[in-house]
C-alpha cells in the first residue's frame, strides 16, 4: 500500500488523459476534487490487488455522461460516495476497497475521490486499460462479472439501483437513459466483486501507470529528452509491453458527425517526411488508424494523438486543421486481446469490418 501525494495528482491526470486515447473527458476537474479532500487532511492510498484477501469486497466507482456537461454542471462532491454507499446498502455489505472501471480520462479520478472521502484504499487496476465509450466495454464483464446491480447518484441526491441481470448491454442502455434524464452526468458504482475476481478479470497496475506516464512526460520536458522514446521504454516494463510512435505529421482534414449520441469522425494526417497519409477514425475515442489505406493500429490497441513537440495528449474534440501531431500506439495487454474480450470491444463491436491484429504485427 502506498499513499498518493497531493503533488502527484497532476501527473496522474496527464497520464490518464493519454490513456483516454482521445476521449474520456478532461481529468482536471476530478483532480481539483481530490485535491480538495487533501486540503481537508484526507489522503488516499493505492493498493496492489495481491494485498487483499480473496474474499475482500471491491466496488469500482466511475462517472457516466457527457464531458461537455461535466465542465458546466459541476458536482456537489457527494455524488460518487452516495452511489458507492447505495450499492453497499443494497448488497448489505461494506466494501474493503474501491477501484477504477476506466483508468483513461476523468474516470481515473473518481475512485481517488471516493477513497479519500470514505477512507478506503484504491486498487491499482481497472477494467478498460484505457477509455471506452460504453459501460459494457470492460474486462470484468468479459470474464463473467455482471455490471448489475448498478447504483447511481445525481447532483440533487437522486439515487437508485438498476439491475438487468447478466445483460451488461441492456444495463448500458438503461443507465444511459437515466443519465440523460438527470441532466447528462451521474456517478455510478457497479461490478462489486471479490478480490479474487479482481485478480482474475482486471488489468493490473493501470493507475500507477497513469502516474508514471505523467511523470515521464513532465520529466522529459524538464530535461529536454525525447518524450516518445521515454514512453516506449516505460511501457516495456508494463503489461502493455509494446508501444511505439507510428506516424508524425500535420492534420489536414477533420470531419465530424453525431450519430446515436456519439461524436464520430475522421481526421486525416499528412506525413512530415513523405507523401503517406494516416486516416484516423474516432467514436469519442480513437478506433482505427490506417496508413495509405492499410490498417496500422486498431482497437482495442491504444491509439493516442500527441503534440509532435511536447507529447501532450490531444483529445478528439481538440483535433483541428494544422496541428502537428505524433500518433503513438500502445499494444493492449493480453487480457484485452482474447477472443472473449475482442467480442465485446474489438473492431466489430464498433462496426469496423476487420479482424483485430496487434500493432506489433502490423509494423
Amino acid at each position: 500500500m502506498r499513499e498518493i501525494q497531493a503533488a502527484e495528482l497532476p501527473d496522474i491526470a496527464t497520464g490518464a488523459a493519454l490513456l483516454g486515447t482521445g476521449g474520456g473527458g478532461d481529468p482536471y476537474l476530478g483532480r481539483l476534487l481530490v485535491r480538495r479532500e487533501y486540503l481537508r487532511g484526507r489522503t488516499v492510498s493505492l493498493l496492489d490487488v495481491g494485498e487483499l484477501p480473496d474474499d475482500a469486497l471491491v466496488i469500482p466507482a466511475a462517472g457516466m455522461g457527457a464531458p461537455t456537461v461535466r465542465v458546466e454542471k459541476l458536482p456537489n462532491g457527494d455524488e460518487a460516495s452516495t452511489a458507492f454507499r447505495m450499492l453497499e446498502r443494497h448488497l448489505g455489505r461494506r466494501a474493503d476497497a474501491t477501484m477504477p472501471v476506466e483508468c483513461g480520462g476523468s474516470n481515473s479520478m473518481v475512485p481517488l475521490l471516493v477513497g479519500a472521502q470514505l477512507g478506503l484504499p484504491v486498487v491499482d487496476a481497472d477494467g478498460m486499460g484505457r477509455a471506452f465509450p460504453e459501460l459494457q466495454m470492460q474486462t470484468f464483464g468479459v470474464y463473467g462479472i455482471s455490471g448489475s446491480p448498478l447504483a447511481f447518484s445525481g447532483s440533487h441526491g437522486e439515487r437508485g439501483v438498476l439491475d438487468t441481470g447478466t445483460d451488461n448491454v441492456r444495463l448500458e442502455r438503461l443507465a444511459r437513459g437515466v443519465t440523460v434524464r438527470l441532466g447528462g452526468t451521474v456517478s455510478i458504482a457497479q461490478f462489486a466483486m471479490s478480490a479474487a475476481d479482481v485478480r482474475r478479470t482486471a488489468i493490473p497496475g493501470t493507475l500507477s501507470l497513469a502516474l508514471r506516464i505523467g511523470r515521464c512526460l513532465r520529466e522529459s520536458r524538464e530535461r529536454y529528452r525525447d518524450p516518445f522514446a521515454a514512453l516506449t521504454e516505460l511501457f516495456k516494463e508494463t503489461a502493455y509491453a509494446y508501444a511505439t510512435p507510428v506516424f508524425s505529421g500535420r492534420i489536414v482534414d477533420v470531419e465530424r458527425r453525431t450519430t446515436g449520441g456519439f461524436a464520430r469522425g475522421t481526421a486525416t494526417i499528412e506525413s512530415f517526411v513523405d507523401n503517406s497519409v494516416l486516416e484516423l477514425a474516432f467514436q469519442n475515442e480513437h478506433l482505427v488508424a490506417r496508413v495509405d489505406g492499410r490498417i496500422r493500429v486498431i482497437v482495442p490497441d491504444l491509439i493516442t494523438v500527441l503534440n509532435a513537440e511536447t507529447a501532450e495528449p490531444i483529445t478528439t474534440e481538440a483535433l483541428r486543421y494544422g496541428l502537428r501531431v505524433t500518433v503513438f500506439a500502445i499494444a493492449a495487454p493480453p487480457i484485452m486481446r482474447t477472443p472473449e474480450a475482442l467480442a465485446v470491444f474489438g473492431p466489430r463491436a464498433f462496426g469496423i469490418d476487420a479482424d483485430f491484429t496487434g500493432v506489433e504485427e502490423l509494423a
Binding site: 476537474l29 454542471k73 453525431t258
Partner: protein, 526 residues
C-alpha cells in the same frame, strides 16, 4: 472625409495615428504617462500640429490599451469583489476561485456565494431561484465592503434567465454594486467563464476611471466623435461597454499589432512574424482576424476561456545567444541577452556573440563596430543565418492553418534576420510603418457579434439552425454599431457533443462589420 484616430496606450509608448479611409495621414509616438491621460493629450496635440486635422472632422476614436491586463498581473487597483453563483444543489464541491493563486484571491477580497439555480444542458431549471437567498447574499456583500459582483449560472450560455433575474434583484437591493454577468463574457465551461467574470468585476472600478480619463483627454482635444476600445479579437466595443466589460480588452495588444501589420501589407490572410529582441511571435490572420487559441489561456495563474489570438512564441530574436563553434553544431537561442544587447553584443564592445552580431557580420545590418565581428568565418555566419531561417520557417509552418502556403509579413526590430524567402511559406512582405502598427490595428477595427451555444439539431434541420445562429451573430454585430449592410460571417464552428440525445451540437458563429461612421461629429453611434 471619414477621419479616424487610432491610439495605442502601451506600457512605454503612447502611439496615435490619423487615418482617412484606408490612408494613414499622420503618426506620432509619445511616452506613456502614469495617469494615461497626459500622454494621450500630448499625442493628440502633436497629431493635430502635424496633420492640421480639424477635430470636428474626426468621426471615431479607437483606443487599445494593456492597462487592464497589467493591473491583474500586478494585482493592483482591484476592487473588493464577490462571486455569486447559481448552481445548487450541483457545483458545491468546486466553489468560485477554487484554483486561483491565494495571493490573487486575497487581492480581490474574493468572497463566494453559492445559490440555488442554473439550468441543465436542455434549458430546464436545475433548481428554482430563491430570491430571498439572493437578497441575503446582497446584504452580506454590502456589510463586508464588496463593491463589485460577478454573477455566474450553470449553462447560462444556454439560458441566461437566472443571471438576468439576479442582476435585477441586486440592482434593487444594492444599487451601489457593479454587476458583471458571465453569459455576456465567456463561453461554455463554468469555472473558466466564471473566472473571466470575476476578473472583469475586479477591474470595473479601474475601468470607469480609465474610461473617464480617456474620454476627457479626447474631448479636451476638441473631438466629439464617439470613442471605442479595441477587444481581444480585433473588434471594437463602445466606450460605455468597456466600463462594464474591461476584461474583453485584455489581449488587444498582439491582435492590433497583427492586424495593423497585415493592413499595411494589404493582406487579409497571412502569417505575421514579429521578431523582437528575445522572442519571435508568430500569429495567423484569416479574413483579416487573428486565429483564436483553441485551448485555455492562463492569465496571472487563472484559467480562462477568453477569446485570445493564437500566438506561438519561440526564443529567437536580435539578442539571442549564438551557440556552437562551427557550421556543424550551431544553434541560435532560446536564451538571450535581452535588453542588455547594447552592453553584451560583440559589435557594441561586449563579450557575447548574438544574432545581431551575425547580421552585422553578414552585412545585412549596419550598427555598432563591424570590425569586432570580422573574425567570424563566412561559412559559420551562413550556418547561423540558416539556423534562424529554419526555426522561423518551422514556426510559420506549425501555425499554418490551410494547405496553402501563407504569405508572411515580417515586422519588429529583429525582422532583418528573416530572409526574403522562407521554405514552406509564400512571399515575404515587410512594412515600414510598423512602429505604429498597434494604433493602426485599433483604427481599422470593426464591430463583431458572436454566438456560442449548444443546439439540438434534428435531422434535416441543420441549415435552419445554422441560419438562425448566423442571424443572431449578425444582429449582435449590428447592435454593437456595425453597418447592417456590411456585416459578414467570418467564422463558423460546429462540434457535435457526445453522449447527449437529439444530436446536440455546439455552434459558434462570428460576424463582423464596418462601424457606422456618423455623417458629422454630432450624430455618432455612441
Amino acid at each position: 472625409m471619414s477621419l479616424r484616430i487610432g491610439i495605442d496606450v502601451g506600457g512605454t509608448h503612447t502611439d496615435a495615428i490619423v487615418m482617412d479611409g484606408d490612408r494613414v495621414v499622420a503618426t506620432v509616438k509619445c511616452l506613456t504617462t502614469e495617469d494615461v491621460t497626459t500622454g494621450i493629450v500630448a499625442a493628440l496635440r502633436v497629431l493635430r500640429e502635424q496633420s492640421e486635422v480639424d477635430p470636428k472632422d474626426v468621426r471615431a476614436v479607437m483606443i487599445g490599451t494593456t492597462h487592464f491586463i497589467n493591473a491583474l498581473v500586478e494585482a493592483n487597483r482591484l476592487a473588493p469583489t464577490a462571486a455569486l453563483r447559481f448552481g445548487l444543489p450541483a457545483t458545491a464541491a468546486l466553489p468560485p476561485m477554487v484554483d486561483w493563486p491565494d495571493s490573487l484571491v486575497t487581492a480581490v477580497g474574493g468572497r463566494s456565494y453559492l445559490c440555488h439555480g442554473g439550468v441543465e444542458f436542455d434549458g430546464q431549471d436545475i433548481a428554482d431561484l430563491d430570491e430571498d437567498e439572493i437578497r441575503r447574499a446582497a446584504h452580506d456583500m454590502l456589510s463586508h465592503g464588496v463593491r463589485s459582483v460577478a454573477v455566474s449560472s450553470v449553462f447560462s450560455p444556454v439560458s441566461a434567465e437566472h443571471e438576468l433575474r439576479a442582476a435585477e434583484l441586486l440592482a434593487a437591493e444594492a444599487p451601489e454594486l457593479d454587476v458583471s454577468l458571465s453569459h455576456e463574457i465567456g463561453r461554455l465551461g463554468l469555472l473558466q467563464r466564471e473566472n473571466a467574470t470575476i476578473i472583469n468585476a475586479a477591474l470595473r472600478e479601474m475601468a470607469a476611471q480609465i474610461v473617464d480619463g480617456l474620454a476627457a483627454a479626447v474631448h479636451g482635444a476638441g473631438i466629439t466623435a464617439p470613442l471605442y476600445l479595441s477587444q481581444n479579437d480585433g473588434t471594437l466595443m463602445e466606450v460605455d461597454y468597456a466600463r462594464r466589460y474591461p476584461v474583453a480588452t485584455f489581449a488587444s495588444g498582439p491582435t492590433n499589432s497583427m492586424r495593423g501589420a497585415a493592413f499595411l501589407s494589404g493582406l487579409t490572410d497571412c502569417a505575421v512574424v514579429d521578431v523582437g529582441g528575445t522572442t519571435t511571435d508568430v500569429g495567423v490572420l484569416r479574413h483579416g482576424f487573428p486565429r483564436e487559441a483553441a485551448t485555455e489561456v492562463v492569465v496571472a495563474g487563472v484559467r480562462t476561456n477568453f477569446r485570445m489570438p493564437d500566438v506561438l512564441s519561440i526564443g529567437l530574436g536580435g539578442g539571442s545567444l549564438v551557440h556552437g563553434t562551427g557550421a556543424a553544431d550551431v544553434a541560435v537561442g532560446p536564451d538571450s541577452v535581452g535588453y542588455r544587447l547594447t552592453d553584451r553584443a560583440l559589435v557594441f564592445g561586449g563579450d557575447t556573440l548574438t544574432a545581431t552580431d551575425i547580421a552585422v557580420a553578414a552585412g545585412i545590418l549596419d550598427i555598432g563596430e563591424r570590425g569586432r565581428v570580422r573574425h567570424l568565418a563566412k561559412d559559420f555566419v551562413a550556418a547561423v543565418l540558416a539556423d534562424i531561417e529554419t526555426k522561423v520557417a518551422r514556426t510559420v509552418d506549425r501555425m499554418r492553418s490551410s494547405r496553402e502556403r501563407p504569405p508572411v509579413v515580417v515586422v519588429g526590430g529583429g525582422g532583418i534576420l528573416v530572409p526574403d524567402t522562407l521554405e514552406g511559406a509564400g512571399t515575404v512582405h515587410r512594412t515600414e510603418h510598423f512602429a505604429v502598427a498597434n494604433a493602426i490595428g485599433a483604427a481599422i477595427a470593426q464591430v463583431g457579434g458572436e454566438v456560442d451555444r449548444i443546439y439540438p439539431i434534428e435531422p434535416g434541420r441543420r441549415e435552419a439552425v445554422l441560419d438562425a445562429a448566423k442571424q443572431e451573430a449578425v444582429d449582435r454585430a449590428v447592435a454593437g454599431g456595425a453597418d447592417p449592410g456590411r456585416v459578414r460571417i467570418v467564422d463558423i464552428d460546429e462540434i457535435p457533443i457526445a453522449y447527449l440525445p437529439g444530436n446536440a451540437t455546439r455552434v459558434r458563429v462570428k460576424a463582423v462589420g464596418d462601424l457606422v461612421l456618423g455623417t458629422d461629429s454630432t450624430d455618432g453611434v455612441a
